[in-house]
């Protein structure tokens, strides 16, 4: 399409500005999204991790480009989207740091400490990360160990493969 649209359609509302991080509701994975992370056993594994160490509030698996893949029940959809984008940004910056100052082997583990708790992120399967939000009472070492154990067990299920381009042919405009 090379024609310019008609005028006067810039209509971002104040609310959209405030909630710019929130994703519009989107349908579940269609035939183009062979994600391996939607089955209930994985949800159960995440809930199980949450119960295994004190102070874990939320557990989320996200793709490296910032989209939630699965998460624990108490994390509502909006905050899951937000956490996925934040964690992907942090891991992406970690990767840049590793390329600049380390051996470029990529993002390892990230830990953020802030008033009221912690955010821990580790690499999961290919193209995915596992993020955990805790309260102040959590023991970082214990939580991190459980996270790494979970990735060892089920990391191969937690993958977000690169997009293929041949679907583009189906796109209509």
């Amino acid at each position: 399409m090379t024609t310019a649209p008609t005028a006067h359609h810039r209509t971002a509302t104040e609310q959209e500005r405030r909630e710019g991080h929130r994703l519009a509701q989107r349908p579940g994975g269609g035939p183009d999204t062979p994600m391996t992370t939607t089955d209930s056993s994985l949800d159960w594994m995440l809930e199980n991790l949450r119960g295994r160490a004190a102070g874990i509030h939320h557990v989320l698996v996200l793709s490296r480009d910032g989209l939630k893949m699965c998460h624990t029940r108490d994390l509502d959809v909006d905050r899951a989207d937000q956490l996925a984008a934040i964690a992907a940004g942090i891991q992406s910056l970690s990767l840049s740091a590793s390329a600049e100052f380390g051996d470029a082997s990529g993002a390892g583990q990230a830990m953020l400490e802030y008033g009221g708790g912690l955010l821990l992120i580790v690499g999961a399967g290919k193209g995915a990360h596992l993020a955990v939000v805790t309260g102040t009472e959590a023991d970082v070492g214990v939580v991190a160990r459980h996270m790494n154990e979970l990735v060892e067990q089920i990391g191969h299920h937690l993958t977000a493969p690169p997009r293929r381009r041949h679907h583009e042919a189906d796109a209509t405009r």
Partner: protein, 216 residues
Amino acid sequence: MHSNASERTASEPTSLGRPAGERSPLAPTVSNALKIVIVGGFGVGKTTMVGSVSEMRPLSTEEVMTQAGAEVDDLRGVRDKRTTTAAFDFGRITVDATRVLYLFGAPGQKRFWFLWEQLFTGGLGAIVLVDTARVEDSWYAIDRLEHHGMPFVVAVNRFGAGPSLDRVRTALDLSNDVPLLECDARRRESSRDVLITLVHHLASLDRAGSAPKEAS
């Protein structure tokens, strides 16, 4: 192994004719750090622009787009895009002995818009990149800059034949005092011209007595 850093090799020339391997250390005389933000929709060329004008190896936070985004990130009209910015791009241009521009490229997708607030802080001005095949993707950026009171110029990243600048101005509902120009974000000279246009625009606003206020 995947590297998140620039894909340039050391022998490839970067800005100012220096090879990327030779860093240009910041002169101790620099006293003015000017922050410029590059915004616009998904896949319009923000990362490309920062990469083409930066004198140092740009920081880029490109992530491979995964199948998790198949329902979210609309790839129609974004050509051969395979990666996307997950945090921000960062580059630098030394103007003269005392002034240096710091370029921050914003991430394009809606899910990363919350980062824009921090990127705008302390910014002097902004470049809005536009792809005329997806003009509507730029509306949010322009609205937000107007909301922040941050001066900006609009650059149409030409991917081929497209509508005239007059039609783009109408489609974007831009007032006549906002500079609008064409560019090729892949070319350093072209990206540099956009920056020059922005700096002239900022200077003219300053002369007109409406000094650009820092976004807060």
